[in-house]
Symmetry: C3
Subunit: 350 residues, 3 copies
């Protein structure tokens, strides 16, 4: 199945305005470099202007400021990148999933599955679970007892949602994601760890995306909460009782320790970490590979990356880190020694 749209039809749906031939028919999105005459591309970074000049694309999406950079048919938008995202969705509707329950799926007693939902082969829906309208539960997914999944969810194969968790509408969850496993809570008692039962849930808002093999633990006593519009990449670990504020985006391999609260509209780089029981303000950016060990009260950009170097240079410089306190003391001693001297008589005459 190939979808196609004229530029005029695209702007009728998505806004913006056309310059040049609005009748050009578009079937797919592509990079400037690879686009074909039936494809549309975009420019959001001026360093690709040379590619714009050379592109074979049938049309491009441009910001107002770049409107005259090409003679190609073009759509002008205030936010060319977001416009491009919307066109990508228009031209690439998700494969339809047939409503109904595959014969190999296993449905628990009292499960409430909307007639428009699709339950794929070998999926297991627990007792009393709810699956909302138009939701697609992929192959091998396991939805725990009494869990609730809202409408228009798209769960790829082998997602697990533990019992009692509550998910809003429009969830996208990729394969291997695990929502609601026990948080890591133990008390030491006479040389043995005693497990603390994790009786909270995971509660997820609307419009959330969860990457492959990401894990979100259920709360110990209260709930773990993921607010509306949060986007989580692959292999992220969210510990018990974390709260992630609306529209925060987190890149792959990040770990967030227990009971930490992250604000709204934060952006967290790959493999970063946040220790437990901290508060991160709204609109905080955290660089990749950065460990946050204290609360951040102020919006802004934070980092803690150790700079890489050729191994021999790294070794030569890094050895001194173990003696940095000594070095500071040596500098202080030099300052005191010089400070104790009357140097007037030694000043060079300029």
């Amino acid at each position: 199945m190939t979808v196609s749209y004229r530029l005029s039809e695209i702007v009728a749906q998505l806004g913006g305005r056309v310059m040049g031939d609005a009748g050009v028919r578009i079937t797919q999105i592509a990079t400037l470099e690879n686009a074909q005459p039936d494809q549309i591309s975009f420019l959001t970074n001026s360093k690709y202007r040379a590619q714009l000049a050379a592109t074979k694309a049938g049309a491009v999406i441009l910001a107002e400021a770049d409107a005259d950079e090409t003679g190609l048919p073009r759509i002008i938008s205030d936010n060319a990148y977001a416009y491009f995202a919307k066109v990508s969705a228009l031209l690439n509707p998700l494969p339809e999933a047939k409503p109904g329950i595959h014969p190999s799926a296993v449905i628990g007693a009292g499960a409430k599955i909307d007639a428009t939902a699709s339950i794929a082969a070998t999926a297991v829906i627990g007792d009393g679970a709810t699956i909302g309208a138009h939701s697609v539960i992929g192959e091998g997914c396991c939805i725990g007892a009494n869990a609730i999944v809202g409408s228009h969810a798209r769960l790829y194969p082998r997602v697990v949602i533990y019992r009692d968790c509550v998910i809003g509408d429009n969830l996208i969850a990729h394969s291997g994601a695990v929502i609601g496993a026990d948080g890591f809570g133990f008390a030491m008692d006479e040389g043995r760890w005693i497990k603390i039962q994790q009786i909270g849930r995971v509660v997820i808002g609307n419009d959330v995306e969860i990457g492959a093999n990401t894990t979100i633990d259920r709360g110990a006593l209260n709930d773990t909460v993921i607010e509306d519009g949060v986007k989580l990449d692959n292999q992220i670990q969210v510990a018990h009782n974390v709260r992630i504020g609306a529209h925060t985006a987190i890149a792959g391999c990040v770990g967030i320790a227990g009971s930490t609260t992250i604000g709204r509209y934060c952006r967290i780089g790959g493999s970063a970490g946040i220790l437990g029981h901290l508060h991160i303000a709204d609109h905080v950016e955290i660089a990749a590979f950065t460990l946050i060990g204290k609360s951040i009260r102020e919006a802004g950009s934070y980092a803690a990356i150790f700079p890489f170097a050729k191994s021999e240079d790294w070794r030569k410089n890094t050895v001194h880190l173990r003696h940095l306190d000594d070095l500071v003391k040596r500098v202080k001693a030099l300052e005191q020694e010089l400070g104790s001297l009357n140097l007037e008589s030694l000043k060079r005459i300029p």
Copy 2:
């Protein structure tokens, strides 16, 4: 199903002593802040004393030293946190799993499944595998050929145990855990990697918990070993031939490279790493985000966290790390220059 206990019944089972009304009936545990009159809470950190004063809990668990901090009905215990953990288990028995094999499960030839065990929908038990008494194998779990799982195991959906691995009693394994995949072993031969067959097993003791999406590789020649009482959080990677000593607890996202031995009662923080072929002593604590690159022979606390800062401050300071060796040389040159001077005559008269 709601479980409830009077304080008198709790101390009859778990020890400790009651102060105040021992007839108070408790149905659940909760934080001081959120507890209701039919719930019990606890105080183990004096900074929450204000919450103790304000709590609506029906009862609390306190250390001896705090016994008079409230007039609420209370249980006094030497180890209030461990007591709380035990109460959490008492009030929250795991959902019962019906003994028997779900019709959609697939059982290999010669598999020995105890009559009290429960094999959930779509689970697959390999040829010759053994499942012990009262063990629960969750939906979609795959137990490899000739693997042995002891009694009272609780495997959540989609755990994989590869062939020949041996697991003790009381295992808890969360969804997506993979036990016994091949270790990462190759030899370079004329420009190509030749795989070294991984013929060891994973051998796991009693009372071990394994978090969601954690991976424990089988040994190359000998076995990978996880001793009794080890607790592993989510997304931990344990490479081939690692040995983890009894009662060690490891937080999420830690990576442990091949053939490293970790002692007993260690605690390892989130996203830490340990290189291969090292020995870590008993009772070692490793901070989050710390890479251990040499063996640790002495109990104690170790760290290697690069401090975070506002990005502009981080940049300003970090640039000098590439020149630290030069800086040390400059300080040495200053010391030598001053040391070469006869400064007696310049001393200020105090």
Copy 3:
């Protein structure tokens, strides 16, 4: 089933030459320390020579230079470690999988499954997917619509391959691996993230191994590409549009951000990271725990590990990192002050 070979039969298949009794029969590989008389071991590191002297192995594999280090029957090879790897494969053929489709597997319309392939219990093969000759698709694997898996693949239980991905011959993929999930691409639009449809594929060459719970995202517009002979350990995250050059080996927990290109024959240590849109040359080695934030144009070894220490020493030294720029300024001030003085008269007479 036990396989056994005489040394003479081994060299007939794998080359090298025998010294001593070529009729010794070998059934397994083992370490020098644990080997039994029916087992073969190897020496590639001279620090194990004492173990060679004491081993009970029936035979050993040695380099030419070590040929006279023992009187045991031995195979001499230029590359003893690679030879050992080949013997490990000879003695440990993978368990045979019966060709055919398990009755509990679910096969989509138009799927092309070679008659010699094996589809295990509860596996799901999507519409139009292709499974090549002698490939083994493990329990619970999900192969997406129109995906292509070459010949002689070995997918362990619960591997997911999303729709349209293309895999060469001889793939080994361990449990929980996810190939082809959506890349992490969003555009911010009036306070909301708009998803960019990920329409590229994952394209994987021949002879690739993928570890447990590793994730490789599909491309945004173009494809994500893994070239021939690449070896990926567990829990690696490969973002959209990454290209990994042939015969590169990557240890566990590494994260590679979007659109980065990694050369051939690179070796990347555990938990390292590489930021997006970078180019890494061929034959680059990256140390464990190292973040690469700029392109590397030159082969060689690179590192960025913060050295660990006892926590009190770490704290004492690390506090100065926040003031490194000040320290450099203080050293500069000292140099300028000294430089501004006429010190001739103060020189000590030697």
